[in-house]
């Protein structure tokens, strides 16, 4: 499979005015194959946005190199930029101009006409509010406007940094479906996201970044495989009594209303049964939860805030 993004030994460090050094990205290697949706995950400050900025030529790497659509992004990015749509962090537009005017002005830089602007606005569900001033847009609407701007060039590669930021649940769902559709059209969508459940649902491949290094990458199945479940679902008649019994035995238990979620490996299932049985509490169901991307993420990064 051909690579659309290749990052080799990328390092970026910043120095403040006192000369104090802070490392944003440390020798990152990353390969993103062509086609499909690629999730780029990492805790806050792990270097996701810096990596995206390096890819788009907004930041000069301290070391290493980034190749995007086959060109070195620090040298000949302009050659391929018309095939790349991007949103970096919160999309920034001119607040005193309408969403439509903002897109038309961006489009004019590449000779893109008003009909493409209308199409892009419709695609992100912003056609009704397109003529409102951008300063009156909510964060979610600004995200949609940013995505519309990214779609204007009919890009082969979309780079979206936290595209679901500020969106309500319905908006997140719409954007998820849009991203899936874009991926299914043969484009490559590279997204960084905080919402791991969304990433798991829409991404074909993921990479997990922590402290500026890539600690896991591959298809979602590959990343999840080999990981042992860390929670058991326990169903019984008296949930409150069951929870109290398990907690007294040293388990961490969460009452989900219809079942208990016990922080324990599958190997502890026998002990859970024994503890409950000793108190005359009989199980109607005991199963290991599926491993989620969130579990893997927390295990790899040790950070509860992706």
């Amino acid at each position: 499979m051909a690579s659309i993004i290749e990052v080799e030994g990328l390092a970026k460090e910043y120095r403040n005015w006192r000369g104090r050094r802070s490392v944003a990205v440390e020798y990152l290697d990353l390969t993103v194959p062509e086609g499909g949706v690629f999730g780029f995950l990492g805790p806050n400050g792990s270097g996701k946005t810096t990596t995206i900025r390096c890819l788009l030529g907004l930041v000069r790497p301290t070391k290493g190199r980034c190749r995007i659509l086959g060109v070195d992004s620090s040298r000949t990015l302009a050659d391929v930029l018309p095939r790349i749509g991007s949103v970096v962090e919160t999309p920034m537009m001119f607040p005193t101009q309408s969403g439509r005017t903002n897109l038309r002005l961006l489009g004019m830089t590449q000779g893109i006409g008003p009909s493409a602007v209308t199409d892009a606005l419709e695609r992100v569900g912003l056609a009704d509010r397109a003529d409102d001033l951008a300063k009156n847009y909510s964060l979610g609407m600004r995200q949609r406007l940013g995505i519309a701007a990214a779609l204007l060039r009919d890009p082969a590669l979309l780079i979206l940094d936290e595209p679901a930021n500020g969106l309500d649940p319905a908006g997140i769902r719409e954007i998820r479906e849009l991203i899936r559709a874009l991926g299914a059209e043969g484009r490559t969508v590279f997204i960084s996201s905080h919402i791991l459940s969304e990433v798991q649902q829409m991404c074909d491949r993921v990479a997990i970044l922590t402290r500026g290094r890539c600690v896991a990458s591959g298809t979602v199945r590959e990343v999840l495989s080999g990981r042992e479940p860390t929670r058991l679902t326990v169903r019984l008649d008296d949930l409150a009594a069951g929870a109290a019994t398990l907690m007294a035995a040293g388990f961490f238990v969460e009452n989900r209303g219809d079942a208990l979620s016990v922080a324990a490996a599958p190997a502890d299932a026998a002990r859970v049964t024994e503890v409950l049985g000793r108190e005359g509490l009989w199980l109607s169901e005991l199963r290991a939860d599926d491993v989620s991307l969130e579990d893997v993420f927390l295990e790899l990064t040790g950070d509860p805030t992706p």
């Binding site: 910043y14 900025r53 788009l56 030529g57 907004l58 930041v59 000069r60 990015l77 302009a78 930029l81 790349i84 991007s86 970096v88 919160t90 999309p91 920034m92 537009m93 001119f94 607040p95 005193t96 101009q97 005017t101 002005l105 961006l106 004019m108 830089t109 590449q110 000779g111 701007a149």
Partner: protein, 257 residues
Amino acid sequence: MRILRVELVRCLHRRLLWILAFAAVIGCLLTLVLTLVNVKDTDPINLVDLWPPRDQGDPVLLIAITIAILGALVFGSSMVGAEWKSGTVPTLLTWESRRVRVAVTKIAAPAIVAAVLALVLEALFAASLLPVIVSKGSTAGTDSKFWRALSGGTLRGSAVIAMAGALGALIALVARTTSAATGIAFLYLNLVEGFLRGFVKSSRSWLLTDNAVVFLTGHRLEHGQVGHSTLQAGLTLAAYTIGLTALATSVFRRRDL
């Protein structure tokens, strides 16, 4: 050219431009009223006073040009400063990654708009004096020498106004805020050049303000100490503008965004 067109459209969308233009129109109307009220028959304004040929008095039009220079400086700073503030510079760079091109157009666009608008406002200012000239003054002395002086002065005025717009923009490109850019420009022009003018006489040939005055007036305003001819002053100003544009572009090109 596409990006220059976009920047020009952005300039025209900028509210400050129209506020300044509106203020200039109000200023012209005030000039009309004040001159009608105050100009005496014994000391009339004649058409030739707009830009008298060399050594025949100070050009009245210079008042409008001086104010327009300050307005262009603020407008240029605001154009680029507002882009930094709204965060649209990185957005644009994801569309046009050739930073030199982006920087040069961001500096050129306010300069072009300021120059064109200045020509219109200079004409409006001159027109606002016409009723007084017709009623209390005369059109005597408006020979070809006068029209040459007027058109030359007006064009040089627009060139200096364009340069002020470019300077405002290029300082803001580095300083990233409108207030910092205008502050730096005014501090430099008033304090630094004022100090040099007062204490380092030999530097006068190289000061922006002195060269601007020489270029605009052709040695009319007691700037005999500036050893430059009008052409040399113009070339000095052009060299400063090009040099500072290159410097600002170089800083912008290397900056992490």
